[in-house]
């Protein structure tokens, strides 16, 4: 079933490189900045951006928190060494801790969101400092599941990998020959020690990819996906996640008052005049 997610890496890579080059440069900006965690998604973006804009125009910002895994940072350095892109380590510990200290009790989820949003602030500030657009590093699996922080790691100007399932991220990562340790380690948002995406989600990325692909790309019904051999509860759980997280994939709702309301009947692309 995973075969259905196979992509032609050579052509898709060329396409994504062209996408980054054009959608960045047509704004008049030559550079790009992104959060480089050392995970597979942001690492892949580093390779695409380097090809698109040239290594001298790409900035990977590593933003560890004091409890972030050391291996992640090491992997990020491997990517920097391999691609030759610019990098900067910007610790978020004092900023995040200062905020967190205002509260006596704060849940792990809130803390995770604070880390993600502190990183977002850092990236968009560097965007201004460097004159660089922020590249997104969320993949299609995360975006559909809503497994990300709204206005945190989901925030960006241009996202080359948002229409690629996790499995397809792996295919492209092999194609670009990412460092082996980046490809083989367990996926983790690294928001707290020992966090594992798949443990937290309660299902594997492989299962999620196949289910999501059939539900949304191929428009299978829940029953039809169940016939492929998946537990109906799991399919329902995933479908519900997608529905409940639609808001995260949208700009904020605007109350329509006038005859021409932004994004409702005032309709232009971002690329208006570009």
């Amino acid at each position: 079933m995973m075969n259905k997610l196979k992509i032609n890496c050579e052509i898709v890579a060329e396409y994504l490189i062209q996408f980054v080059q054009e959608e960045v440069q047509k704004t008049g900006i030559k550079k790009a900045v992104f959060g480089l965690s050392g995970g597979i998604d942001s690492s892949l973006v580093a390779y695409i951006a380097k090809e698109a804009l040239g290594k001298e125009n790409v900035y990977g910002i590593m933003m560890p928190y004091k409890k972030s895994s050391k291996e992640s940072l090491e992997d990020a350095y491997k990517v920097v060494d391999d691609t030759g892109i610019n990098h900067k380590v910007f610790e978020i510990t004092d900023i995040a801790d200062s905020y967190i200290s205002k509260f006596d009790k704060i849940s792990k989820l809130r803390q995770g969101n604070i880390f993600a949003r502190t990183r977002m602030v850092t990236l968009f500030d560097h965007s201004s400092e460097l004159g660089a657009l922020v590249l997104g590093t969320s993949n299609k699996t995360e975006l559909l599941l809503g497994y990300g922080t709204w206005y945190g790691d989901m925030a960006s100007s241009v996202n080359p990998i948002g229409d690629l399932y996790k499995n397809q991220i792996y295919q492209l990562s092999r194609y670009f020959s990412l460092p082996e340790s980046v490809i083989t380690k367990k996926p983790s948002a690294d928001l707290w020690v020992g966090q594992s995406d798949e443990d937290e989600l309660g299902f594997s990325y492989d299962d999620a990819d196949v289910i999501l692909f059939h539900l949304y790309d191929l428009r299978y019904s829940i029953e039809e996906v169940a016939e492929l051999g998946f537990d109906k509860n799991l399919i329902n759980l995933i479908a519900e996640r997608v529905r409940k997280n639609q808001f995260k994939r949208m700009p904020p709702l605007i109350a329509k008052v006038s005859k021409r309301t932004i994004n409702i009947d005032f309709r232009y692309l971002r690329d208006w005049g570009l």
């Binding site: 992509i7 032609n8 396409y15 309709r267 232009y268 692309l269 208006w272």
Partner: protein, 267 residues
């Protein structure tokens, strides 16, 4: 009889007809220097594709003075291009065939996609007929992108005794495990060229609009259904090809499909 054609799979600036016209003029000049007889531009080449509300601002009357410069240029070379037409405040996704300083044909796209990512049906009105025009090079029919997916439109082109079918396109890239979008186009177009015994020039734009990438990969098909020359995927490029129009009679005698069509003797 021979002719030389240049297909220009240009990228465009969305909604900026001045900039796009400059680019079109640049490529016309190039085609003239290359001693071409015809130069072809994509669907909505003057305006960009996904115009949304810009339709109301950038559409031109067919007699607009803005087009004079192209008419002037067409005294030395035949020009085919797509633009957004304002016809009494209704809007059409149209194509022009310019020759000898005049508009020989203004074709309004018949089939406007309004499914999936497409919104053409929301903004444009549809043309009501497929048009074929006599040119120096034979009978030319222009279809615009989605038109080509309609067998009925292809049939019109067939029974109109088309010698050269020009397909202008702004076709977005997609891929899956089985195929990539250009393969669909090559299959549909070579099918027509072969069955009708006509040349087919497919000109698909390059460039991105809000993440949607137009795949380029324009091509020339012989009347035997073979790709003679094709452009790169994704990148703006102009490709040139020598066309031997004598192949038309060979192809049409080899596979005289139209001969037995009931309505082919109307002319």
């Amino acid at each position: 009889m021979k002719m030389k054609v240049e297909l220009c799979q240009i990228n465009t600036v969305l909604g900026d007809i001045d900039k796009n016209l400059k680019k079109i003029e640049f490529y016309i000049e190039k085609a003239k220097n290359d001693e071409c007889d015809m130069v072809v531009f994509p669907e909505l080449a003057l305006t960009g594709y996904n115009l949304r509300d810009l339709v109301y601002d950038v559409s031109l009357d067919v007699n607009d003075a803005f087009l004079d410069i192209l008419k002037e240029q067409s005294k030395n070379i035949d020009i085919v291009l797509g633009y957004s037409q304002n016809d009494k405040n209704y809007f059409f996704n149209s194509a022009l065939y310019l020759s000898e300083g005049k508009i020989k044909l203004n074709y309004k796209k018949n089939y406007l996609p309004d499914y999936g990512m497409f919104e053409e049906g929301r903004y444009f009105s549809s043309g009501k007929s497929i048009e074929t025009v006599d040119t120096k090079f034979g009978r030319v029919t222009i279809l615009i992108c989605e038109d080509m997916f309609h067998i009925s439109a292809q049939n019109e082109a067939l029974v109109n005794s088309t010698d050269i079918l020009i397909v202008l396109s702004a076709s977005p890239f997609w891929s899956d495990s089985r195929s990539i979008k250009p393969e669909l186009w090559k299959s549909v177009c070579s099918n027509f060229a072969q069955l009708s015994g006509s040349y087919l020039f497919f000109n698909n734009r390059a460039g991105f609009e809000d993440g949607v990438g137009f795949f380029g990969n324009s091509f020339f098909l012989s009347p035997f259904g073979k790709i003679i020359k094709e452009a790169k995927m994704f990148k703006e490029e102009a490709i040139m090809c020598d066309i031997d129009l004598n192949n038309l009679k060979r192809a049409k005698s080899f596979m005289p499909v139209l001969k037995n069509e009931v309505n082919c003797n109307d002319e």
